[in-house]
Amino acid sequence: MRTIAVVDDNPSMLQGLNRLLSAHGFIVRTFASAESFLEANAECEADCLLLDVHLGGISGIDLQRQLIASGRELPVIIMTAIDNEVTRQEAFDAGCVAYLKKPFLSKLLIDAIGRIP
């Protein structure tokens, strides 16, 4: 059973994703900030990181860069409520496996997770 880590500063979104992914049979760990994610060392046990871009402190893109910089090979799916070319480019540059615009259908998310080897 795969473990999905979800980082989003919006509690409602976080809760919704938790319920959705759990219903699809994933183990879900939720974090309200990049800092709390790093603090929990969750990257070690997660199979996929579902990451929001705009967070209160360290942004999602920065966290993604940090993970890469630290040599972690954790697949990252970026999600954002503010879709623009700059963000999209930065996300793919940082090596995300999928880029989702909020609100998105669960099928897109499940498909993206499914594509992760």
Partner: protein, 618 residues
Amino acid sequence: MTSRTNGPPYRMITRIVLSSIVLLLAMTGAAFSQSKRVLLVHSVGRDFSPWDDYARHIREQLKLQSKDPIDIFEVSLSTARFPDGNEDAFVSYLNAVFSERKLDLIMTIGGPAARFFQQNRERIFPAIPTLYAALEQRISPNAPQTDAMVSVSIDVVGTVEQILKLVPETTRVFVVHGTSPIEKQWLVAIRKLLQPLASRVEITYSNELSLEEILKQVAVLPPRTVIIYAQMLVDAAGVVHEGGRALERIHAVANAPIFAEQDTFFGRGIVGGRMTDITDVSRQTAAVAVRILGGETPGSIKTPPIPAASPRYDWRELKRWNIGESQLPPGSQILFRVPSVWEQYRLEVSAVTAAILLQAGIIGLLLVERRRRHVAQAEANSRRQEVVRLNRVTTASVLSSSIAHELNQPLGAILSNTEAAQMLLKANPPDVAQLGEILSDIVRDEQRASDIISGLRNLLNNRTESDLRTFDLNDSVRDVVKIVSPEITRRGVNLRTILAPEPLPVRCDPIHLQQVLMNLVMNGVDAMEGVAGPHNLTIRTALADADGIEVRVSDSGPGIPNDKLASVFNAFVTTKPHGTGLGLPIARTILESYGGELWAENHPRGAVFSFKLPLAKA
């Protein structure tokens, strides 16, 4: 010693007193010797028209024309009022009063007095010259050699003929006449004179009526009637009528025009016509009297009867009875004309008209000016609306990422929760408790999205009219902070507001002010993007002075490059990579349209944008 000291003053005083007495006696003697004594004998009484007028004018003329002082005595032949008056008693009275005084002239006023004197001439101062005045030639007696006469000629028929020309539709003539002996005598003459006219008009006489009865009749006279006021000394009821009071009462109620032969009644209610000019007759009578007093023999002075004067008419009566001026005989004089407002107040009317014209001119200019102002205001409003539209677009642009974020977040959560619920529903049995939680979360997120849309709707509402109102600027700042704080927080900016403790009333459209504030705040946030160090944004409001408030929005960004400080409010000048360059010029235009100003400056840690607005008066 005493006689020596008092002698000269005593003699001097005695001399002065004696001289004064002699002088006074001489003067008095002279006065007595030169004064002419005239006895005026009135018919009926002193105050009966028209003789009262004659007597008054004769008195005045005598004094005016005579070189000698005139000493006038007056008596009235009251017995003339009654048919059986005892004249002997009056003869005795005159002799008793005046036999011891030397009279220089006796003047009778009116026919009764003249008749009385002639009948009793031998018994009353037969040697004293007598002048018969104010009488009609037809009824006057022949004067003996010692007496003189100045009479008038009254053309009764001519008077009626004139009336018929003036009021051609006349079919009836109502003659007001009294019943004293002289009036009866005169009435006989009139009836005889007017007899030839009986075929043309119906003539009735009031001599058998009291004044009260006459008043009733003249009020309801048949149409096409005229009234001739001949004389009213004593009416049929034996009531004596002095002066012109009877005429005035008749005039007050009459329903027909009134005519008279004596100008003493002119101006008191009669229409006018050819009338005896009493002033002129009196002047001529006084002239004869002065000649007699000067020594001329009365019998040698012959004056022809004085005819009626040129026609005169009372303008008020002509108007009242609708008699056209074109109907008047040639040479007519119109008196008592009531001047028109223009004639009476020519100067005032001119001044008022000028003032009105001046005012009208000023009002016209003001209206033109007002029209111009309205056009200018309309243009200004149109420009402001255009700026506001641009501002709305700019604000929307500034907020676009924030709008997307704030709306997409709850929408994303709603979608995830909904799909999770769908999954849960497939389970058997479904987890109803969790489904309930999901639905609650969906409702909350839905509410949140709705709140965001409401807040933005006000801010970005496409209104055509400004909503000018007075409000507290601190409230505007609070509203803006509420809208932008999620975005600001998301972007790692610490927002601090330092608001004036007192209300800051300003008068403008609150949405415009919110848009300006939003613009400045988001400008500051953008300026700090990508800059190291803490990101602080401060909004400070304060009273600038007695007339204005000041708002300062300061950031901790890199500040404005010095070369752009001056041009930062120019359109399309921007320091941001993705800026439109419209936000600041629009904000300045909006503030200036409300009498405010906006400026920028650098401080050691970033830029400060400040604006001032006038304080709204209570």
